[in-house]
Amino acid sequence: MVTQDDNKFNKNIILIIAAVIIFIFLPNFISGYYIRIFTAIFMYATISQCINLMSGYMGYLPFGHVMFFGIGAYMSAILMKLGLPVFIAIPMACLSAIIVSIILGFPVLRLRGHYFAIATIGMNGAIMTVVQNATEITGGARGTTFPIIMASPDVVYRYFYLAMLFLMVITSLVMYVVVNSKFGYGIRSIKANEDAANSMGINTTFTKVTTWAIAALFTSIAGGIYGYWMSFIAPDEVFDLMFITNSIIMMLIGGAGTILGPIFGAFIVETVSEVAWSGFMQYHLAALGIATIVIVFFVPRGVIGTITDKIRNRRIELSKKAEVTNG
């Protein structure tokens, strides 16, 4: 039984490594248009993965989580304008997002359910307003630019493609390690029943704040890379709640509470979106909305969640049958 599980585990690892290698070399064979789409998919998968950690695993839906995306983008822009190289600017931006998440986390994570979701939207609005009005530092509502990269667009887009790919892979790996660790059991217990978790010796406040900081970390890196990629950012763009709405839809479609879910969700939604954009632009959002309703009603566990449930149920059935035949 153990060896069988081990084999399956090894097979999965090989499949994942193969997929990553294919994606590393993919830009050699596709046009710039598709490279751009894939970069967006990786970015959304990263954000969706962070939402998944907060919502799918811990049960706290951070609707205003895009604030960390914006903070990451803006801090990177400001620091790079001061002359810092990108490899220092983005980590520092990410650090500032973590600090913000910890400071906001202590009061806000006391709220539960919808109240938490709404409070984070409010905070996102507050931070956006600050950015819009601190004109000397942020460039105000007109936005700000990143330093231009001196290279051909083809090469630049490939860099960003690889950067987002690695970000997605690292985020997913970290999420996998986190949710399967002791700390991860704490996170899942909070979703299941926060009071019971507390009475079982889980420091719920610490767990919640730390989890939010992890989610903020990767979201802010995605923001930094996105800003540099776009080379121009404006407050109403990087603090746009649509980023989170899309990520939530991706998480739901792929399967909340699974590691592969957000990645599959990002691929499905972005592909469908892209087709819808080109075909019938006005109905694009309606299509997403209807898809979400259908998913929540009929496949609440998402694509990956439904598949893993099926596998688990079959295993239980098999073990029951084995028991009957043995005894």
């Binding site: 704490g186 217990s189 507390n198 009475s199």
Partner: protein, 254 residues
Amino acid sequence: MADNDIILDVRSISKHFGALKAVDKVSFQARKGEIVGLIGPNGAGKTTITNLVTGELRKTEGEVYFKGINVSRMQPFQIARIGLTRTYQVVKPLQGMTVEENILVGSLFGRSDRQNDLNHAKKTAHEIMELVGLDKKKEFKVSDVTLPDLKRMEFARVLAMDPEVIFLDEVMAGLNPSEVEESMELVKNIRTEKQLTIVYIEHIMKAVMGISDRIIVLHHGQKICEGSPTEVCDNPAVIEAYLGKKYAKEVIKS
């Protein structure tokens, strides 16, 4: 009674909800390895006392000492980590997890002064599941098991935390008579095996009388009587609280 035997010392705790005195200056002690029954009519304050002692509710006044440590101002998770824990009257399983994972969470996060990395915790969880007879249901999601199994699981989860004092809040509510017997046996066996101190809250008289070394009776938030099961049964104040004044007089006359 030797002082160093006392593991839990509750000193005159009160909880007032506005004008309502849900718990009013209740004091009691529990010695190592003892089963203390905590009974009383509905609304007597049994569950409130549990919430106060385990830190889930703020006390209006009074103090709780556990192993000589003042735990009155501690958070529930801190109290759980030094070995004082409870089950819930209305089961609070960790939804969406399997039975095994529920118990694993207990052994992972329970006591902080022993090894509780994943491997050790898994081993502990398996031992406990065998002990309470849940090993066949370990892969089931909590939504797929019956109420008696959930109660059993909650008890197992608490045991997995390796506590020294457990508040069992109506672990038998909703069980049929044969399940009650089973549950009683389980509690007795585990008490002797693990040297546990149990504060036992229960409505089923047969269970409380059969299991407790000492019984505390609450009424309207106050302690009205304390003593051995037979003493408590003969106490007029207890009879009055349960059956009313008129009946109490008749009983005492006869």
